[in-house]
Amino acid sequence: MTQMTFARAINSGLRKSLENDPKVILMGEDIGTLGGVFRVTDGLQKDFGTHRVVDTPLAESAIMGTAVGLAYRGYRPVVEIQFDGFIYPAFDQIVSQVAKLHYRTQGAVKMPITIRVPFGGGIGSPEHHSESPEAYFTHTSGLRVVSVSNPQDAYTVIQQAILSDDPVLYFEPKRRYHDKGEVDEGIDPGAALPMDSARVVTAGTDVTLVAYGPLVKTAKDAATAAADEGISIEVIDLRSLAPVDYATVEASVRKTGRLVVTHEAGQSGGLGAEVAASITERCFYHLEAAPVRITGFDIPYPYSKLEMHHLPGLDRILDGVDRALGRPNSLSGLEG
C-alpha cells in the first residue's frame, strides 16, 4: 500500500495501462510536456513517447473523432477533456459516433475509448470549469459512465475503463485531486470490484444516502455528523452512473426504508431523479417516505463566490435526511 493523491493514483493507473498494452494511446490538450493542467498525466510522455501520449491541437471534436478512427484501427484511446465545460464541442462525436458504432456495425467495430473528464465544482474557477454534465451521457445508450471517489478506485477503475470494450466516460472529481489515500498498486483490476458495481461505504439502518464522485466524502461526513444525533446513515457510492447498480441500492433501501440521493448536477432530469424513480418502482412498499433529492440548482454554474450555495454541503444533506425521516426540517409545513 502506498499513500498517494487522487491525481497521482490516476497517473499510476494510466501508467500501468500504457505498460500493459501497446495499443493504449493517450490524447488531449497539454497532456504531454505539461503533464495536463492538473498534472494527471505528468511524466507519461517522457516515459512513453510522443506517439503514445499525444499533445493534440485545441479541438475537442477532433480529439474525440480521431479517437474513433484509432479505435477502428484497433487502438484503445484514452482522451482527456481538459474541463467538463469543454466537452460540449465533442458531444456529437461522443453520442452519435463513440456511443453508437458498436451497435451500428452489429458488433463488428469496437469503440474501447476512455474519456477522462475532470468535473464538478468547489475550486473557485470561472464559468465552464465546474460543470456536472454526466446526465447527458447517462441518457445515451452505448456509453458507460463512471465516477470515482477515492484514490484506490481512481487507480483501479481507470484501468478497468481502459480494458472495457465499451466506451467509458470517467468523471474525475477535480476538487478531490489532492486528497490522499492508501492505494494498493498490486491489485488486479480484473479481480477487483467491477466498475459497474456500487459500494456500501458506511453501513447504516435508518436512511440510505446515495452519492458519487466528489460528494461521497461529503456524504460520509454527513453520516458521521448524523451518528452524533443517533441517526444511522448507510452511504452508498454509486461508482457507476450508467448503468446504476440498483441491486445494491435496492437492498439498502429495503433495509432502511428511506432514500436520499445527492449530486452536484442540477435536479431536473438528473441522475437523482432516475435513481428515485427506479427505486420507487422496485421497492415502493418498502419505502417509508418519498425519496429526497439534494442536488445543485437548475441554474448555470454560479460564479465562485456563490458556488458553495449551489453545491450540496453537509448541512443541506442532513436537512434532506431529516425530510426523509419526517423530522423537523427547512421545508416543514410545506405540502408537496
Binding site: 480521431t66 459516433q97 452489429q106 458488433g107 470494450d165 465499451d166 450508467a242
Partner: protein, 369 residues
C-alpha cells in the same frame, strides 16, 4: 482572393483524350482493356442507382441517395485504392462501395431498414457510411494516425461533399491531418448542391483552395473524368504512402438527381444548369472515347449491358428477399458485454412479447389483447 484554378482533365466532354504531362504518367497503365473495364464500372454503378431508386419508388426502400452524375468521381478514386487502404465515406458513395467489393444486397440493407450498417467494415476495409455530415473525416484522420503509428504504408481515404466543408469537423480534421502529417486523402465531391443550398453558399473561394490554408496540398480535378480522377487520387495516395502527409482533392462534379429520393430539386434548381451538366456526363465521354478508339464493339456493348442488368437483378432480388430482423435484435450489440439496465429492459420486453403466445401477433400494432 484565390486564383481560378483550372481543372485537371484527361478526357474532354466530347470524349477526346488530351495529354497532360504531369498526370498522364499516373494512368499510363490504363490501356484499352482497363478503359473498357472502367466503362463497365461506370455503367453498372449507374444501373445500381437506377434500380435502387426504382426500389424506393416501389416502397421497397425507405430512402435512397442517388449518385447520378457522380459515377466517375467514385469509380476513378475507388479503383485507385489498394485493398489495405481504408475508406470512410458519406452515405452517397455506393459506387465506391461497389469498387470495394461490398455485396450487392448489403448496399441496400441500411436503406431498407433491416440494419444500421450494411456490411462488416473490416471485410472490405470501408467503414459503415456516415450520415452526420463530415464526421467521418475525423475518423479517417484518426485511422491514418494509427497507420502512421503502425509504420504501415496504407492510406485512409475520406469522402464528403462540398457542404461538409462548412462543418467544424472537416476543418478540425484538416488541422489534425496537417499537424501530424497523417496519411489521409480528403476526397471532396463538389456536386454543387448541399440539398437545396448551392456551393457558393458554402464557399467564396474554390473548395480546393481551402485546404491550402491548413497547409495541405490540394488538387482540383474534373470529377466527371474518370481518368483524371484516378490520376489525381493516385498522386495523393502515393504522397501519403511515402510520408508526404495529407492531400485534398476537389472533384468537380454534379449531382444530376435529387439529394435523396425525398427531395425535389425542381424547387431550387434551374433546368438549364442540369442541361449544361448533362453535356459533361461522365459515362458518355468514356463511351465517346471508346468509340473514337474503335473499342466499343458489339461484344463490349453486350457484355457491359448484360453485366449491368445482372447486377440490377441481383440487387432487386437481394433487397426484396432480405428477411426482416427479429424483434429482440434491437437489444443486440448496444454494449459489448452485459449491462444491467438493458438486460432488465430486454427481459421485460421478452416477457411482454411472450404474453401474446403467438409470435406473429406480438409484432402487430393492434396486439392480441
Amino acid at each position: 482572393m484565390s486564383t481560378d484554378r483550372n481543372l485537371i482533365q484527361l478526357i474532354t466532354p466530347a470524349g477526346e483524350r488530351i495529354s497532360h504531362p504531369e498526370f498522364d504518367p499516373w494512368v499510363k497503365d490504363i490501356g484499352d482493356e482497363q478503359l473498357c473495364s472502367l466503362y463497365e464500372d461506370l455503367t453498372v454503378i449507374r444501373r445500381i442507382d437506377v434500380e435502387a431508386t426504382a426500389l424506393q419508388r416501389q416502397g421497397e426502400l425507405g430512402l435512397w441517395p442517388p449518385l447520378l452524375g457522380q459515377e466517375a468521381a467514385q469509380v476513378g478514386s475507388g479503383r485507385a485504392l489498394r485493398e489495405d487502404d481504408f475508406v470512410f465515406s458519406s452515405y452517397r458513395e455506393n459506387g465506391v462501395a461497389y469498387c470495394r467489393g461490398v455485396d450487392l444486397t448489403d448496399i441496400t440493407r441500411v436503406w431498407r431498414g433491416t440494419a444500421s450498417s450494411g456490411w462488416d467494415p473490416y471485410t472490405v476495409n470501408m467503414a459503415t457510411p456516415q450520415i452526420i455530415i463530415g464526421a467521418q473525416t475525423l475518423h479517417a484522420t484518426g485511422y491514418a494516425m494509427g497507420i502512421q503509428n503502425d509504420g504501415a504504408d496504407s492510406v485512409a481515404v475520406t469522402y464528403f461533399g462540398d457542404g461538409a466543408t462548412s462543418e467544424g469537423d472537416v476543418n478540425e480534421a484538416m488541422v489534425f491531418a496537417a499537424s501530424f502529417q497523417a496519411p489521409v486523402v480528403f476526397f471532396c465531391s463538389n456536386n454543387h448542391w448541399a440539398i437545396s443550398e448551392p456551393v457558393r453558399l458554402q464557399s467564396h473561394i474554390q473548395i480546393a483552395d481551402r485546404a491550402t490554408g491548413f497547409g495541405i496540398p490540394s488538387l482540383r480535378v474534373d470529377g466527371n473524368d474518370v481518368l483524371a480522377v484516378m490520376a489525381a487520387t493516385r498522386v495523393a495516395l502515393d504522397r501519403a504512402r511515402h510520408g508526404g502527409g495529407p492531400t485534398f482533392i476537389e472533384a468537380v462534379t454534379y449531382r444530376m438527381g435529387p439529394h435523396t429520393t425525398a427531395d425535389d430539386p425542381t424547387r431550387y434548381r434551374d433546368a438549364n444548369e442540369l442541361e449544361d451538366w448533362a453535356a459533361k456526363d461522365p459515362i458518355q465521354r468514356v463511351k465517346a472515347l471508346l468509340e473514337r478508339k474503335g473499342l466499343l464493339t458489339d461484344q463490349v456493348r453486350q457484355h457491359v449491358h448484360d453485366k449491368a442488368e445482372a447486377v440490377a437483378r441481383d440487387i432487386r432480388s437481394g433487397c426484396i428477399g432480405m428477411p426482416d430482423p427479429e424483434p429482440m435484435d434491437i437489444f443486440k450489440h448496444v454494449y459489448s458485454g452485459p449491462n444491467s439496465w438493458l438486460d432488465r429492459q430486454q427481459d421485460h420486453y421478452a416477457r411482454y412479447l411472450d404474453s401474446f403466445g403467438d409470435p406473429a401477433g406480438a409484432t402487430s400494432e393492434e396486439g392480441a389483447r
